[in-house]
């Protein structure tokens, strides 16, 4: 082992590096969020807050309607996830369990379309949504977000669907289920982990999206979290403790989600290998 370290020591250091690399920004803003503005501008800067305060969190809730932002993000992310999972499940079923011509071609087209640069899509989509009067409505984000995650959801669910023995489906149909009935009563319940993984990925993608959210929603009370957080900055001033507190509030839900379902998320990500 290099540097005369024991094997266990090397493993420990490796784990520490990976964890520290992932956590240091979150830790730093957590510390910042507990500082006062006066402590912040002191030189040299302090690392641990001297007199920890929760005032910034109280201000974060009143300076901007952050709970409203969170609600908007939640509505948009969960409805787009539901739509995306439903549409992708039907497509994944057709592509894995039916004998269709040109299956590979259909899948390639689906992937290629979904890889369109969002910014190219943003310009005409803004125009379409404006003409339909859908700007500043949830629908303006739900529909594009559902499309955004469609490829990864389809891929993840397809890989689960194909592992279900065809006999089970056939048995259900002998018992009087229709083909579509078998999909909802046999295939989807048996692939619950896959469906669930797809749903988490779609949810995180929607929760994180910024460009479309910035474009489609320009009323403050329709902003989603990712855009809403940027509203805490003044024109010239950056109240970092306040922004940090708002950031912590905003990332807590997503942290809980990935902490609870980390194995699923890793599995889904490496299987699908797609993120917009």
């Amino acid at each position: 082992m290099p540097f005369g370290l024991s094997r266990r020591g090397t493993v420990w250091i490796a784990g520490l590096i990976v964890a520290a690399n992932g956590f240091f920004p979150a830790v730093w803003i957590l510390l910042t969020s507990l500082k006062t503005e006066t402590e912040l501008i002191r030189a040299p800067i302090t690392y641990l807050p001297e007199a920890a305060t929760l005032d910034n969190y109280a201000t974060a809730f009143t300076a901007q309607p952050i709970l409203r932002f969170m609600w908007n993000s939640f509505v948009v992310a969960s409805l787009s996830t539901a739509l995306c999972v439903l549409v992708s499940a039907l497509a994944a079923y057709a592509l894995t369990r039916l004998r269709l011509p040109h299956r590979n071609l259909i899948m390639s087209v689906l992937l290629a379309i979904a890889m369109f640069p969002l910014i190219s899509l943003m310009v005409p989509l803004f125009k379409v949504m404006r003409e339909l009067g859908l700007l500043n409505t949830y629908l303006a984000l739900i529909l594009p977000y559902a499309v955004l995650s469609m490829p990864v959801c389809t891929l993840v669910m397809a890989s689960f669907f194909q592992d279900i023995p065809p006999d089970l489906e056939a048995a259900a149909m002998v018992d009087g289920c229709s083909r579509v009935g078998a999909l909802f009563r046999v295939i989807i319940p048996l692939s619950a982990p896959g469906v669930f993984t797809a749903a988490i990925l779609a949810f995180v993608n929607a929760w994180d999206e910024f460009l479309l959210a910035l474009t489609m929603m320009n009323r403050v009370n329709m902003r989603t979290l990712s855009v809403g957080i940027t509203l805490y900055q003044g024109e010239f001033a950056f109240p970092w403790p306040l922004i940090s507190a708002a950031l912590i509030i905003a990332i807590v839900p997503i942290c809980i989600l990935i902490a609870l379902f980390q194995e699923r998320v890793v599995g889904g990500l490496t299987q699908g290998g797609v993120k917009g």
Partner: protein, 311 residues
């Protein structure tokens, strides 16, 4: 990876009661197709049509008029278009290899036999799950001149603090660091999946033959990992073409327009300057650029779909 599993269904089932397979397939694919049509295909089609229109400044009351290829000709003479394209290319050239190297390093570290797995897994997942714009804000805070932690560390080592966000070159460096941090974790997750498919016996055999760790890395790890590396590289490139959130949050494109990407310029043209025709032309150019990259990727996956790949 993106290979289609062979049909598990085998056509022996009683038909007649059900729709024919093709009709059912079309029916099940219809919602996805409809959504793609409304949200992607139709807007992209109008993008090209819009790019041929523009408002005549001498007669704005007439609204958008057909102007042919004028917007594209304007783009070729627009130095801001070329500058923002150049910045985008520079971000790709710096951050894609950067994220690949850092991601590979993280993946190798994360591939060690940990007894407690969750801190490592969360350490890789958190940067992925963090919204890009949040990462941008946090790194902006790191690179602040007076109160940022980076300059504080420099001061402690007796180095003059740097104007990270107001010097064009340093701003580019700071943004690149943030992008590499944000994107390397996802890269690491993909490469880690690839690493775990390499049989341990290969390393054991190499060990017996007296190969050093470095030789094992070059002779076993890299060749076995190359399909995963290639896919990760292409994905990263496709997303890097669209770089927007992090520079938007860190510098807003400044100082001047020195860190502005093509995506940011398109956004400004369309939503701040409200020049739809020109914005559409720029977006169409970007579309062509990234489709070229995507088709390269698809060609590769189709070629490699015979192999087991890195699933």
């Amino acid at each position: 990876m993106n290979t289609i599993p062979a049909a598990a269904a085998d056509g022996r089932r009683p038909s007649g009661r059900d729709l024919s397979e093709r009709a059912l397939g079309a029916l099940l694919l219809a919602p996805a197709a409809l959504l793609l049509l409304v949200i992607v295909v139709y807007p992209i089609a109008t993008l090209f049509w819009n790019s041929l229109h523009g408002v005549d400044n001498a007669n704005p009351a007439a609204g958008e008029q057909f102007v042919g290829l004028k917007n594209y000709l304007t783009a070729f003479e627009d130095s801001r278009f070329w500058d923002s394209s150049l910045h985008t290319v520079l971000y790709i050239l710096v951050t894609v290899p950067g994220a690949l190297v850092v991601g590979l390093g993280l993946a190798m570290l994360a591939n060690m036999p940990f007894r407690i797995k969750w801190p490592v897994r969360l350490g890789l997942l958190l940067p992925w799950a963090l919204p890009l714009v949040f990462a941008g804000l946090i790194f902006r805070w790191f690179f602040e001149y007076n109160t940022g932690v980076v300059n504080d560390i420099l001061r402690r080592f007796g180095v003059e603090p740097l104007q990270w966000l107001s010097d064009p070159n340093l701003a580019f460096a700071a943004i690149s660091i943030a992008i590499v941090w944000k994107s390397s974790s996802f890269m690491a997750l993909m490469l880690l999946a690839g690493l775990q498919t390499i049989p341990k016996s290969l390393y054991e055999a190499a060990e017996v033959d007296g190969a050093t760790k470095w030789q094992q890395f070059v002779e076993i790890t890299l060749p076995m990992l190359s399909p995963a590396l290639f896919v990760a590289l292409i994905f990263r490139t496709i997303t890097a073409i669209q770089t927007f959130d992090i520079p938007y949050a860190m510098t807003g494109g400044g100082p001047g327009d020195s860190t502005e990407t093509l995506a940011m310029y398109i956004h400004k043209t369309t939503l701040d300057f409200l020049d739809f025709g020109y914005g559409s032309a720029l977006a169409a150019l970007m579309f062509v650029l990234s489709m070229a990259a995507t088709s390269g990727y698809l060609k590769y996956t189709r070629r490699s779909s015979g192999r087991s790949g890195e699933d």
